[in-house]
Amino acid sequence: MKKIIAICGSGLGSSFMVEMNIKNTLKELGVAVGLGDMEVDHMDLGSAYPGVADLIVCGKDLEDNVERFGETLVLNNIFDKAELKTKLETVLKEKGVI
């Protein structure tokens, strides 16, 4: 697992905040972030394509739009850091990253 992308409708504000939260969470979980390690980025719905990342993070309202691009992590509250941490930790453990 090499790349995580946060997606929102316009790819400007929300997904960017989520990206920053993901980066912080990864640091807390001891996962190295950056090129060659775990890449984290954000984009809008229109720029995404199937296989864009190993994991896509989005809010519950975009679940139906994003599913076709690959494995998704859906947040009920996109800015809830605790929810993100719990869910991300589970996925990372499944994938053997941590």
């Binding site: 929102c8 409708g9 316009s10 790819g11 400007l12 504000g13 929300s14 960017f16 905040m17 920053m20 954000h42 809008d44 719905l45 229109g46 809010g59 519950k60 309202d61 975009l62 139906d64 739009n65 947040l75 009920n76 509250n77 996109i78 800015f79």
Partner: protein
Amino acid sequence: MDGIIQFIIDFLGTPAILIGVIILVGLIAQKKPTSEVIRGTLKGILGFLILGAGAGVIVGAITPFGQLFEEAFNMQGVVPNNEAIVSEALGTYGSATAIIMVIGMAANIIIARFTRLKYIFLTGHHTLYMAAMIAIVLVVAGVDGVLLYVLGGMALGLTMAFFPAIAQPTMRKITGNDDIAFGHFSTLTYVLSAEVGKLVGKGSKSTEETSFPKGLAFLRDSSIAIALTMMVMYLIVVIIAGPTFTQGLSGGQNWLIFAILQAITFAAGVYVVLQGVRLVIAEIVPAFKGFSEKIVPDAKPALDCPVVFPFAPNAVLIGFVVSFIGGVVGMLILIALGNTTLDPMVILPGVVPHFFVGATAGVFGNATGGRRGAVIGSFVNGLVITFLPLFLLPVMGDLGFANTTFSDADFIGVGIIIGWVATFNQAWLVTLLIVGLFSLPFIHAIFSKKKEAPKAA
């Protein structure tokens, strides 16, 4: 000697380089590694240049639309779209916008640190757009030089703390806690929608107690939404203006093909501009967030509008659809007024503002007035964001004739207030307005009984 001065003027007078310098200083201040400093600085400059390239594409696609609309209806048609107007504005007001943005973010931190308005506005693209808006109206008002930057920055900082504050009572209702604030510059219509909800919503059930078809979800993809609505609008104007007139503009290309291509080109331009905006703010916002968290740890982060969408997904769709209907009704009223002495410009319903702003108005209306609140609140929102730009266009100078304008209510509200005061042509009056408003929260903090002793910064 002249060569050196010219070099310095060109260096700092070029907005893209100015942005680069600002980011460079920010990254060095955060003690980032060299590779990160080089990467971030270049990406910021790259973003700004991409923005300019996108502006060219948008102007190329919206200009024939303006001509066609005039031929068809004998009125001027305006498509409100923040990205389009900002990218055009940055051609002339780029340097002023960049400096105002930086001073504004500093002012926001100062306000949050020393007053009760403890909000840090983290929606970076809206900060950029508001900076551009303020730069335009102040320059048109004749303010320039250092005064332009300082007044502009104060005005921007104030909007960044004030608007989240007025949204907070409803935000508490929506999210059920007081931890996050709301930062999206159409707060005036959101609060209006919440107030309308209170008035009409007595006993109305929440939108979330019904199931609602999700067939419109594909419009969440803004490129698709823009392309589709522009296509509809373009086809309407070419059909009324007629093939002969259209093919005069298209240089002989088939009129229908021309209409469809121009509509999608407009969407392409917005896509390019957004890519540029993304690169620019991606380098600025983390620094702003980092500094503000250090200096004002107890501040509430004011976040982008989709923050409220998951709390009421049905209200999101209802808000979008009903607000769009409001926009269409508003447009029809304006067209009907075209034959009277008022002869207004026609504000067309842009799908992006109606989606994001309408959806949010729906959530706010639902929070205070259930289903009825969501429907009526977002309808009022749709009408208001259609009529408000009419009052903004006259204070925007040459950009008032750009066939596009700001779409969200706070940009327009702030523009109208500053622009109206500026029509008196007295720089001191504008200064008094901004300095006066800026000092209010500080005065309030000093006289407030529950004032906490400021901690050492």
